[in-house]
Symmetry: C2
Subunit: 131 residues, 2 copies
Protein backbone atom coordinates (compact mmCIF):
# COMPACT_ATOMS: atom_id res chain seq x y z
CA UNK A 1 0.00 0.00 0.00
CA UNK A 2 2.99 2.28 0.42
CA UNK A 3 3.97 4.05 -2.75
CA UNK A 4 6.94 6.26 -3.29
CA UNK A 5 8.42 9.26 -1.59
CA UNK A 6 8.91 12.61 -3.20
CA UNK A 7 12.52 11.99 -4.23
CA UNK A 8 11.70 8.87 -6.18
CA UNK A 9 8.63 10.44 -7.76
CA UNK A 10 10.59 13.48 -8.87
CA UNK A 11 13.47 11.43 -10.23
CA UNK A 12 11.21 9.09 -12.17
CA UNK A 13 9.19 11.98 -13.56
CA UNK A 14 12.29 13.92 -14.54
CA UNK A 15 11.34 16.76 -12.23
CA UNK A 16 12.69 18.42 -9.11
CA UNK A 17 11.17 17.91 -5.70
CA UNK A 18 10.46 21.63 -5.70
CA UNK A 19 8.28 21.23 -8.75
CA UNK A 20 6.45 18.25 -7.29
CA UNK A 21 5.71 20.16 -4.08
CA UNK A 22 4.55 23.09 -6.16
CA UNK A 23 2.14 20.92 -8.16
CA UNK A 24 0.80 19.48 -4.92
CA UNK A 25 0.37 22.97 -3.44
CA UNK A 26 -1.64 23.88 -6.53
CA UNK A 27 -3.87 20.85 -6.05
CA UNK A 28 -2.74 19.07 -9.20
CA UNK A 29 -1.62 15.99 -7.28
CA UNK A 30 -2.28 14.68 -3.78
CA UNK A 31 -0.32 12.63 -1.30
CA UNK A 32 -0.90 10.64 1.84
CA UNK A 33 1.25 11.25 4.89
CA UNK A 34 2.70 8.49 7.06
CA UNK A 35 3.65 8.76 10.76
CA UNK A 36 6.83 10.37 9.42
CA UNK A 37 4.93 13.23 7.94
CA UNK A 38 6.71 12.15 4.77
CA UNK A 39 4.67 12.42 1.58
CA UNK A 40 3.56 9.12 0.09
CA UNK A 41 2.60 9.11 -3.57
CA UNK A 42 0.71 6.44 -5.47
CA UNK A 43 2.12 4.96 -8.63
CA UNK A 44 -0.58 6.73 -10.65
CA UNK A 45 0.79 10.08 -9.50
CA UNK A 46 3.87 9.48 -11.61
CA UNK A 47 1.79 9.58 -14.79
CA UNK A 48 0.00 12.67 -13.61
CA UNK A 49 3.25 14.51 -12.94
CA UNK A 50 4.50 13.60 -16.39
CA UNK A 51 1.26 14.86 -17.88
CA UNK A 52 1.43 18.07 -15.86
CA UNK A 53 4.97 18.73 -17.06
CA UNK A 54 3.95 18.08 -20.62
CA UNK A 55 1.07 20.52 -20.39
CA UNK A 56 3.16 23.15 -18.62
CA UNK A 57 5.83 22.96 -21.31
CA UNK A 58 3.04 23.35 -23.85
CA UNK A 59 2.28 26.71 -22.28
CA UNK A 60 -0.75 25.97 -20.10
CA UNK A 61 -1.07 27.37 -16.59
CA UNK A 62 -1.59 25.23 -13.51
CA UNK A 63 -5.12 26.60 -13.24
CA UNK A 64 -6.03 25.38 -16.70
CA UNK A 65 -4.28 22.09 -16.07
CA UNK A 66 -6.21 21.68 -12.81
CA UNK A 67 -9.43 22.16 -14.76
CA UNK A 68 -8.76 19.61 -17.47
CA UNK A 69 -6.61 17.07 -15.62
CA UNK A 70 -9.57 15.17 -14.11
CA UNK A 71 -10.78 14.12 -17.56
CA UNK A 72 -7.49 13.05 -19.10
CA UNK A 73 -7.07 9.29 -19.23
CA UNK A 74 -3.38 8.46 -18.76
CA UNK A 75 -2.35 5.82 -16.24
CA UNK A 76 -4.54 7.01 -13.41
CA UNK A 77 -7.71 6.47 -11.42
CA UNK A 78 -10.86 5.81 -13.41
CA UNK A 79 -12.47 8.89 -14.85
CA UNK A 80 -15.59 10.11 -13.06
CA UNK A 81 -18.71 10.59 -15.13
CA UNK A 82 -21.30 10.76 -12.35
CA UNK A 83 -22.29 13.85 -10.43
CA UNK A 84 -20.45 16.26 -12.69
CA UNK A 85 -21.74 19.74 -12.00
CA UNK A 86 -23.07 21.81 -14.91
CA UNK A 87 -20.55 24.54 -14.10
CA UNK A 88 -17.75 22.01 -14.36
CA UNK A 89 -19.02 20.97 -17.78
CA UNK A 90 -19.26 24.60 -18.86
CA UNK A 91 -15.74 25.27 -17.66
CA UNK A 92 -14.45 22.27 -19.58
CA UNK A 93 -16.22 23.39 -22.73
CA UNK A 94 -14.60 26.80 -22.41
CA UNK A 95 -11.19 25.26 -21.90
CA UNK A 96 -11.72 22.93 -24.84
CA UNK A 97 -12.58 25.90 -27.04
CA UNK A 98 -9.63 27.89 -25.75
CA UNK A 99 -7.36 24.97 -26.51
CA UNK A 100 -8.80 24.76 -30.01
CA UNK A 101 -8.19 28.47 -30.56
CA UNK A 102 -4.65 28.15 -29.26
CA UNK A 103 -3.98 25.20 -31.54
CA UNK A 104 -5.33 27.16 -34.49
CA UNK A 105 -3.03 30.11 -33.81
CA UNK A 106 0.02 27.92 -33.30
CA UNK A 107 -0.70 25.86 -36.40
CA UNK A 108 -1.16 28.90 -38.60
CA UNK A 109 2.10 30.44 -37.44
CA UNK A 110 4.02 27.17 -37.50
CA UNK A 111 2.89 26.76 -41.11
CA UNK A 112 4.09 30.27 -41.93
CA UNK A 113 7.51 29.53 -40.45
CA UNK A 114 7.65 26.24 -42.35
CA UNK A 115 6.66 27.97 -45.60
CA UNK A 116 9.38 30.55 -45.07
CA UNK A 117 11.98 27.84 -44.50
CA UNK A 118 10.76 25.98 -47.59
CA UNK A 119 11.09 29.12 -49.66
CA UNK A 120 14.60 29.72 -48.31
CA UNK A 121 15.59 26.18 -49.27
CA UNK A 122 14.03 26.54 -52.71
CA UNK A 123 16.01 29.71 -53.35
CA UNK A 124 19.28 28.27 -52.14
CA UNK A 125 18.82 25.24 -54.39
CA UNK A 126 18.02 27.48 -57.34
CA UNK A 127 21.09 29.64 -56.65
CA UNK A 128 23.18 26.47 -56.53
CA UNK A 129 21.88 25.35 -59.93
CA UNK A 130 22.30 28.71 -61.67
CA UNK A 131 25.52 29.74 -59.91
Amino acid sequence: MIGMRIGELAARAGASTRQVRFYEAKGLITSRRGANNYRDYSEATLGRVQQIRELLSAGLSTQVIAAILPCLESPRDPIVFEGVLPETTARLERERDRLTARIEVLTRNRDAVAAYLDELRRRSEQAERSG
Copy 2:
Protein backbone atom coordinates in the same frame (compact mmCIF):
# COMPACT_ATOMS: atom_id res chain seq x y z
CA MET B 1 5.16 60.07 -43.45
CA ILE B 2 4.13 60.47 -39.85
CA GLY B 3 2.38 57.41 -38.50
CA MET B 4 0.70 57.07 -35.16
CA ARG B 5 1.66 57.67 -31.59
CA ILE B 6 1.69 55.05 -28.91
CA GLY B 7 -1.80 55.81 -27.62
CA GLU B 8 -3.44 55.31 -30.99
CA LEU B 9 -1.39 52.19 -31.71
CA ALA B 10 -2.31 50.65 -28.37
CA ALA B 11 -5.99 51.52 -28.72
CA ARG B 12 -6.24 50.13 -32.25
CA ALA B 13 -4.37 46.97 -31.27
CA GLY B 14 -6.50 46.43 -28.18
CA ALA B 15 -3.46 46.72 -25.94
CA SER B 16 -2.16 49.02 -23.22
CA THR B 17 0.63 51.50 -23.84
CA ARG B 18 2.58 49.57 -21.19
CA GLN B 19 2.40 46.46 -23.31
CA VAL B 20 3.45 48.32 -26.46
CA ARG B 21 6.48 49.83 -24.70
CA PHE B 22 7.34 46.38 -23.36
CA TYR B 23 7.22 44.83 -26.83
CA GLU B 24 9.43 47.60 -28.13
CA ALA B 25 11.89 47.12 -25.26
CA LYS B 26 12.06 43.46 -26.22
CA GLY B 27 12.83 44.36 -29.82
CA LEU B 28 9.59 42.99 -31.23
CA ILE B 29 8.64 46.34 -32.75
CA THR B 30 10.53 49.54 -33.51
CA SER B 31 9.64 53.21 -33.62
CA ARG B 32 11.03 56.45 -34.93
CA ARG B 33 11.29 59.46 -32.64
CA GLY B 34 10.34 63.00 -33.63
CA ALA B 35 11.72 66.24 -32.18
CA ASN B 36 9.21 65.58 -29.40
CA ASN B 37 10.92 62.41 -28.40
CA TYR B 38 7.46 60.97 -28.93
CA ARG B 39 7.38 57.50 -30.47
CA ASP B 40 6.16 57.34 -34.06
CA TYR B 41 4.89 53.99 -35.29
CA SER B 42 4.28 52.93 -38.88
CA GLU B 43 0.94 51.53 -39.91
CA ALA B 44 2.53 48.09 -40.35
CA THR B 45 3.40 48.05 -36.65
CA LEU B 46 -0.29 47.72 -35.85
CA GLY B 47 -0.43 44.33 -37.54
CA ARG B 48 2.72 43.25 -35.78
CA VAL B 49 1.35 44.19 -32.37
CA GLN B 50 -1.81 42.23 -33.09
CA GLN B 51 0.27 39.26 -34.12
CA ILE B 52 2.46 39.56 -31.03
CA ARG B 53 -0.58 39.60 -28.78
CA GLU B 54 -2.03 36.58 -30.54
CA LEU B 55 1.19 34.64 -30.10
CA LEU B 56 1.58 35.71 -26.48
CA SER B 57 -1.95 34.58 -25.68
CA ALA B 58 -1.11 31.30 -27.38
CA GLY B 59 1.57 30.81 -24.76
CA LEU B 60 4.75 31.78 -26.62
CA SER B 61 7.44 33.89 -24.99
CA THR B 62 8.70 37.16 -26.40
CA GLN B 63 12.01 35.46 -27.19
CA VAL B 64 10.34 32.84 -29.35
CA ILE B 65 8.14 35.48 -30.93
CA ALA B 66 11.20 37.58 -31.71
CA ALA B 67 12.71 34.60 -33.47
CA ILE B 68 9.76 33.77 -35.69
CA LEU B 69 8.23 37.22 -36.21
CA PRO B 70 10.53 38.18 -39.11
CA CYS B 71 9.15 35.39 -41.28
CA LEU B 72 5.44 35.84 -40.63
CA GLU B 73 3.63 37.51 -43.51
CA SER B 74 0.81 39.62 -42.07
CA PRO B 75 0.38 43.23 -43.16
CA ARG B 76 3.99 44.27 -42.86
CA ASP B 77 7.27 44.96 -44.63
CA PRO B 78 8.33 42.47 -47.29
CA ILE B 79 9.91 39.32 -45.94
CA VAL B 80 13.66 39.09 -46.29
CA PHE B 81 15.03 36.03 -48.04
CA GLU B 82 18.55 37.25 -48.81
CA GLY B 83 21.51 37.07 -46.48
CA VAL B 84 19.82 34.83 -43.94
CA LEU B 85 22.48 33.35 -41.69
CA PRO B 86 22.65 29.55 -41.31
CA GLU B 87 22.27 29.92 -37.55
CA THR B 88 19.07 31.88 -38.10
CA THR B 89 17.75 29.11 -40.30
CA ALA B 90 18.73 26.51 -37.72
CA ARG B 91 17.02 28.49 -34.98
CA LEU B 92 13.86 28.75 -37.07
CA GLU B 93 13.87 25.03 -37.75
CA ARG B 94 14.14 24.34 -34.03
CA GLU B 95 11.30 26.73 -33.29
CA ARG B 96 9.18 25.17 -36.04
CA ASP B 97 9.74 21.73 -34.53
CA ARG B 98 9.01 22.99 -31.02
CA LEU B 99 5.79 24.53 -32.29
CA THR B 100 4.85 21.25 -33.92
CA ALA B 101 5.50 19.38 -30.68
CA ARG B 102 3.46 21.89 -28.73
CA ILE B 103 0.59 21.60 -31.20
CA GLU B 104 0.70 17.85 -30.91
CA VAL B 105 0.49 17.95 -27.11
CA LEU B 106 -2.34 20.48 -27.11
CA THR B 107 -4.28 18.61 -29.78
CA ARG B 108 -4.00 15.30 -27.98
CA ASN B 109 -5.22 16.78 -24.71
CA ARG B 110 -7.90 18.90 -26.34
CA ASP B 111 -9.22 15.74 -27.98
CA ALA B 112 -9.24 13.97 -24.62
CA VAL B 113 -11.27 16.79 -23.07
CA ALA B 114 -13.64 16.78 -26.04
CA ALA B 115 -14.07 12.99 -25.80
CA TYR B 116 -14.86 13.30 -22.11
CA LEU B 117 -17.48 15.95 -22.78
CA ASP B 118 -18.97 13.84 -25.57
CA GLU B 119 -19.20 10.87 -23.23
CA LEU B 120 -20.85 13.02 -20.56
CA ARG B 121 -23.42 14.20 -23.08
CA ARG B 122 -24.05 10.66 -24.30
CA ARG B 123 -24.68 9.48 -20.76
CA SER B 124 -26.98 12.34 -19.90
CA GLU B 125 -29.02 11.70 -23.05
CA GLN B 126 -29.23 8.01 -22.24
CA ALA B 127 -30.35 8.76 -18.70
CA GLU B 128 -33.01 11.06 -20.07
CA ARG B 129 -34.34 8.35 -22.39
CA SER B 130 -34.38 5.58 -19.76
CA GLY B 131 -35.44 7.75 -16.82
